[in-house]
Each structure stands twice: as structure tokens, then as C-alpha cells.
């Protein structure tokens, strides 16, 4: 994965991260490669990723609709974890203040909420955007997102209770839960109830211990 010739040029890497105009123009015109290379360097140098967020902010200013920049931002935020939550919510808010319907900004914001949290003020934020412009469909979609996410946990926990009481699930339920599985989940869960517990543990991290306990306590004949 790591090109051999890079290791012999460590000294120059810091410069490569810098803000030279050549590199700036490369970032706009030659997407995948340059950003990919940058990520390798960031990892190798164990660079300060908060600084990186600032760098991305500058680059994103003139290019708020560039796929590569947003993907890079997501990569950095994922590495920083919940340390980045408020910064990411602020950043997307700023971009949305310039273009309240920026698709990338909304997707990123949803990703942050889902992975890192910060839901508390989201409905208020949507409310404010809708007060500014009731026709902002992206804000409406976000209201639904908010409601659906929260409701999914409720729906799944209801399903779990039903399964524990002997409910025989149809293929629709199995498919629906299947669609909620993420790569890091143990996919060998052949039975629906254990799969639901795994998904809940992921979607509702506050109660991860509770869902693990529920998984252990499943009645023997549960589907």
C-alpha cells in the first residue's frame, strides 16, 4: 500500500503538506491521486489533524461542491472521532449559511450526526432554516432524517421485543434489518434477533452494554 520510494524522502513531506500554489491547483484539478497521496503523508507523519481541518476549510471555501474535498474531510473527521464533532457541525453550518442546500454539506452533516453524535440542537437548527426559507427542501429532509433515525432505534427495539415473544418475521423484516448492517458488524449473525441486537448496539451507542446484555439473554427459540 505504501510506495517504496516515499520512505526515502521523509524530510520533504512537511513541505508537501504546505499551501503552495502549485499544490493548490493540483488539488482542484487532479482529484483522487493528490488527496490520496496527502492522506498517506498525513498518516506517515502522524500530522495534527485539527490543522488539517483548517487547511480543508480554506480549500473548500472556493470549492464547496468538490467531491474530493468532502471525502477527505470525512476521512479526517473519522480519524479524530468525537473530538471533531462540534468543529464539523460548525463547518457544515458555515457552508450552509452560504448555500442552504449544498448537497455535500448536508450529507457530511448527517454522517457526523450518525457517527459522532451532536443531535441535541439539530431540530432547532432545521427550524431556524425553515423560518428563513420555508421552501428549503434540504432542511425538511433533515427534519425527517432526525425523526427517522431516532425512530429506527424505537422500531428495532419493538421488533426485538416481538421476536422474543415468538413473532415469526417475514422476509421484509429480514431484508430491512439486513440493510441496516454495517461492515464492522459480525455478519455471521444468522438469526434475526441477534442481528437486531448488533445493529442496535451500533445505532444506539449510549446503550451499547444494554443491547449486548439483551443479545446474551435472548430466549432459545427466537427467530
Amino acid at each position: 500500500m505504501f510506495p517504496n520510494h516515499i520512505s526515502s524522502r521523509r524530510q520533504g513531506w512537511g513541505e508537501l503538506l504546505g499551501n503552495s500554489s502549485l499544490l493548490s491547483s493540483m488539488y482542484f484539478s487532479c482529484p483522487s491521486n493528490v488527496w490520496h497521496f496527502r492522506r498517506l503523508i498525513l498518516e506517515a507523519l502522524n500530522a495534527d489533524l485539527h490543522e488539517e481541518l483548517n487547511f480543508i476549510k480554506k480549500v473548500a471555501n472556493g470549492n464547496p461542491k468538490n467531491y474530493q474535498i468532502w471525502h477527505h474531510r470525512r476521512w479526517v473527521a473519522e480519524k479524530l472521532g468525537s473530538d471533531a464533532t462540534s468543529k464539523e457541525l460548525d463547518f457544515t453550518k458555515k457552508i450552509l449559511s452560504l448555500d442552504a442546500k449544498n448537497y455535500h454539506a448536508w450529507s457530511h452533516r448527517q454522517w457526523v450526526l450518525q457517527e459522532l453524535g451532536g443531535w441535541e440542537d439539530e431540530l432547532d437548527y432545521c427550524k431556524q432554516l425553515l423560518e428563513d426559507d420555508i421552501f428549503n427542501n434540504s432542511a425538511w429532509n433533515q427534519v425527517c432524517f432526525n425523526t427517522c433515525q431516532r425512530n429506527t432505534v424505537f422500531a428495532l427495539s419493538t421488533l426485538l421485543d416481538l421476536l422474543c415473544h415468538g413473532f415469526q418475521p417475514s422476509q421484509d423484516f429480514i431484508n430491512a434489518v439486513d440493510a441496516l448492517k454495517t461492515p464492522d458488524l459480525d455478519l455471521s449473525d444468522s438469526n434475526l434477533a441477534t442481528a437486531v441486537c448488533s445493529v442496535l448496539g451500533h445505532m444506539d451507542p449510549m446503550r451499547v452494554n444494554y443491547w449486548a446484555w439483551r443479545k446474551n439473554k435472548l430466549p432459545a427459540q427466537t427467530a
Binding site: P31, S32, N33, Y103, Q110, F135, N136, N137
Partner: protein, 432 residues
């Protein structure tokens, strides 16, 4: 609410009114000018477009900025547009393009944005569609299908979706580009297909359209990609087609063209992304009827054993199951009239997006570019053929806005390549 209170218009309203006034000005212009000027405005400026397009292709020589990652896209947008206009490029340009695209091919499979660049699903889709559009043995045999397959497998995520490139973003666009390429090259199999349907289903929103990622807003580009992918993998019956239709019909505005999302502005490129959705819908008549019947009977629109059997693939195992879906789709007759206003769309494309000096644009006030030229022309073709029962039977004159000479070549709506060229490629890849 106090009736004397007037609210100032929102951003959405202001922008919409501005566009409407510009568009209506252009329509009024048409009715106010003398007959001979009128016929100029209604005409597709073929020669000017070809000139604009051919210049664009010539510019992609060595002197073009080497860091541009868009070149395979430019090849596809330009070549496809030229082909839609019923024209072709000269041998030299053709050979140069084949050579260039070959050099974009990564030794481990897939095409990057330029020689030496990382392979990427979007540029792979563009390169392969461009090569199919050029047609001929040299072009088609330059594609290393085995390596493309390896690349697609590498881009496949355990969740079922695809990543655009190594450690890249995962979305409905990536799924479409991967599945479309695999299908047209007849290398689509269970390994590539598994889980894709679940991912796309999770992207159908409460509005009925499809988003890029689960939770995002319903969007024309992703709706086309999602719907086409579901057809190609034989799982289109799993989508709620009735609510998808309910969403997409309201995306055609007073201007005649399409918006990409609710309450956003019209844009010429959605002539294809949204218009193409209708072309696909027309051939899914039996599935839609079944879903409607279930809805009326009080059941869920997607819970029926009959639906599973109507879905587009046979029971064969392995890649044989998928390899003829694209081909057989064309044989489905278009049982329903188009659910959009075909003439209004054509009117928007010709009068508002077309530039007299060549090329097409998003809307009045924007600049022309090759992307919009490609998708405005693709959308125009879809609209012109929307009343044709069979994919390639020539439309009646009343189906074509402006003079009948405006008629373009028909396309295959799943891949957006010229129909004849698709058949040639299908023949080539099925037998080699």
C-alpha cells in the same frame, strides 16, 4: 395568521422567479419574432454543435493540462453528443482517443483520469462508454475485461455498495457506474450484485426519489442511477415505484425542464437524469401495475410473490442470469404513454439550453459546457422517442419539437449509449 402581514419572499422564491422570468422572456421572444427567425430558433444547430464538440476533442491532446482528471469524461460527453447528432469523428481523432484511453487503463484494472492516475469508477464508466461510442474492433478489444472485473471486485464494499476508488466515497453513483460497466461488458455476477439492492433501497427517501447516501435528499442524478442499477440487477420490483413516480413527475416545472430536487432550479442536465427515469418507467409497466393493484388491495406495494416473478431476470445461475437484462429490457414494449410532458421538455432544451453558436447550457445566463451538451442532447433524444413503442422505431413528426430534422439517434436508457452502438458492443462482448 394576520392577513395584513406580508412576508418577504424567501431565497428559494426569489431565485425561482428570476429564472422563470428569464425563461418566459425566451418563450415570448419566439412568439414575437417573424416566421423565418422563428424557424431558426426552433432548429437544432447541428453544424455549430459539431464544431464546438470536435474542437473540444482536439484540445485533449498532449498540450491539455496534464493534471486534469476529467479527460475520460470529456471523451464520453463529446463523443456521445456527436453520435447523438448522427455524426462521427475522423480516423485520426478516433485512434488518438483509443490510444489515450488505453493509457488511462491501470495495470491492475479500471481507468483513471489520465495516464498514471488512480483508477476510479466514474472515469472507468466514462472511458468504457466512450470506447463503446467509438465502436469497432480496435476500440472494443482495447478493454481488458478481466482486469475491469478485478477492479470492480476491489471497489466492492462488504456492505454491498461500491466505493468510487480505493478508500473512496460510497454512494449510489458508485453503484451505478460499477453495475453499468459490468453489465455492458457482460461480466456482472452474483458477487458484484449482492447487497447492492439493499443499499439502493435504503436510499429511497420519504419523498419517493433516491438519494446519494441513506438519509440524504432525493435527487435526480441519484434517482436515475439507483433505478437503472435496480433494473440491471433484476431487483427493480423492490423499489416503491409508485412513490418514485409521484416524486419525479413533480420535478418538471413551469419552464418545461426538470429540477434536480424539490424547490430547486431547473437545469438542462436533468433533461436526461429525470427524463431518463421516465424512459425506464415506461418499460416497467407490469411491475408498476402489480404494485398499484397491491396498494388498492390495502397491502404493501412491495410485498408480493408475483412481483418477484415479474422481475427481470431468469432463474439461471452465475453471470448468465444478468448478462441479458440490458438486452432484454429493450424488448419490453413501452406500454404506457410518457408520464412527463415531452414537448415542453424539448422546448426548454431547444429554446433555453441550446446556444445558437453551438453547445448547451444549464439555463439562460450560464455558460455552455460539454457536460450539459451531453445530457441536454441525451434528454432530447429520450423525449423525442418517448412516444415510440419500440426502442428504435422512428417517432411520428408530432413527437418531435421543431422541424423533424431535429430528430436525434435513439439511446439505450440504462447505459446512455447510442442504441446501435450498444448492440454492436453487446454482440462483441457476448461472443468473445
Amino acid at each position: 395568521m394576520d392577513s395584513s402581514e406580508t412576508q418577504s419572499p424567501t431565497v428559494t422564491q426569489r431565485e425561482q422567479w428570476m429564472v422563470e422570468s428569464q425563461v418566459f422572456q425566451m418563450y415570448e421572444l419566439l412568439s414575437s419574432v417573424p416566421r423565418n427567425a422563428q424557424s431558426v430558433l426552433l432548429e437544432l444547430q447541428r453544424d455549430k454543435h459539431i464544431e464546438f464538440l470536435t474542437n473540444g476533442l482536439r484540445q485533449l491532446g498532449p498540450s491539455f493540462c496534464v493534471l486534469d482528471a476529467n479527460r475520460p469524461w470529456l471523451c464520453y460527453w463529446i463523443l456521445h453528443s456527436i453520435a447523438l447528432l448522427g455524426d462521427s469523428v475522423d480516423d485520426e481523432l478516433e485512434n488518438n482517443t483509443i490510444d489515450f484511453l488505453s493509457r488511462c487503463q491501470d495495470p491492475n484494472g479500471g481507468y483513471g483520469g489520465g495516464p498514471g492516475q488512480m483508477p476510479h469508477l466514474a472515469t472507468t464508466y466514462a472511458a468504457i462508454n466512450a470506447l463503446i461510442t467509438l465502436g469497432g474492433h480496435r476500440s472494443l478489444s482495447s478493454i481488458n475485461r478481466g482486469k475491469v472485473y478485478t477492479f470492480l471486485r476491489r471497489m466492492k464494499d462488504p456492505s454491498g455498495a461500491f466505493r468510487m476508488h480505493d478508500a473512496g466515497e460510497m454512494d449510489v453513483r458508485a453503484c451505478y457506474t460499477a453495475i453499468s460497466v459490468a453489465s455492458v461488458l457482460t461480466i456482472l455476477d452474483d458477487e458484484l450484485v449482492k447487497g447492492v439492492g439493499n443499499f439502493i433501497l435504503s436510499c429511497q427517501t420519504y419523498e419517493g426519489g433516491i438519494s446519494g447516501e441513506p438519509g440524504s435528499e432525493a435527487h435526480g442524478g441519484y434517482t436515475f442511477c439507483g433505478l437503472a442499477t435496480m433494473v440491471l440487477i433484476g431487483e427493480v420490483n423492490r423499489l416503491d415505484l409508485t412513490s418514485l413516480i409521484d416524486w419525479v413527475v413533480f420535478r418538471q416545472g413551469v419552464e418545461g425542464g426538470f429540477q434536480g430536487r424539490t424547490n430547486k432550479l431547473v437545469d438542462g442536465c436533468y433533461s436526461f437524469w429525470q427524463g431518463g427515469v421516465f424512459a425506464l418507467i415506461q418499460k416497467l409497466h407490469s411491475i408498476i401495475e402489480e404494485q398499484l393493484r397491491l396498494l388498492d388491495a390495502g397491502g404493501s406495494a412491495i410485498d408480493s410473490p408475483q412481483l418477484a416473478s415479474i422481475s427481470c431476470h431468469s432463474g439461471k445461475r452465475g453471470s448468465a442470469k444478468f448478462s441479458n437484462i440490458g438486452f432484454n429490457f429493450l424488448k419490453e414494449p413501452a406500454e404506457m404513454e410518457p408520464l412527463f410532458h415531452s414537448i415542453a421538455l424539448q422546448q426548454y432544451i431547444i429554446l433555453c439550453s441550446q446556444l445558437q453558436e453551438g453547445g448547451f447550457r444549464d439555463k439562460p445566463g450560464k455558460h455552455r459546457d460539454y457536460y450539459h451538451t451531453c445530457y441536454c442532447l441525451s434528454g432530447l433524444s429520450v423525449a423525442q422517442y418517448s412516444y415510440s413503442k419500440d426502442a428504435d422505431s422512428p417517432p411520428l413528426p408530432r413527437a418531435v419539437f421543431g422541424p423533424y430534422s431535429n430528430l436525434l439517434e435513439p439511446i439505450h436508457p440504462l447505459y446512455n449509449v447510442i442504441l446501435d452502438l450498444y448492440h454492436e458492443a453487446h454482440e462483441f462482448f457476448s461472443t468473445s
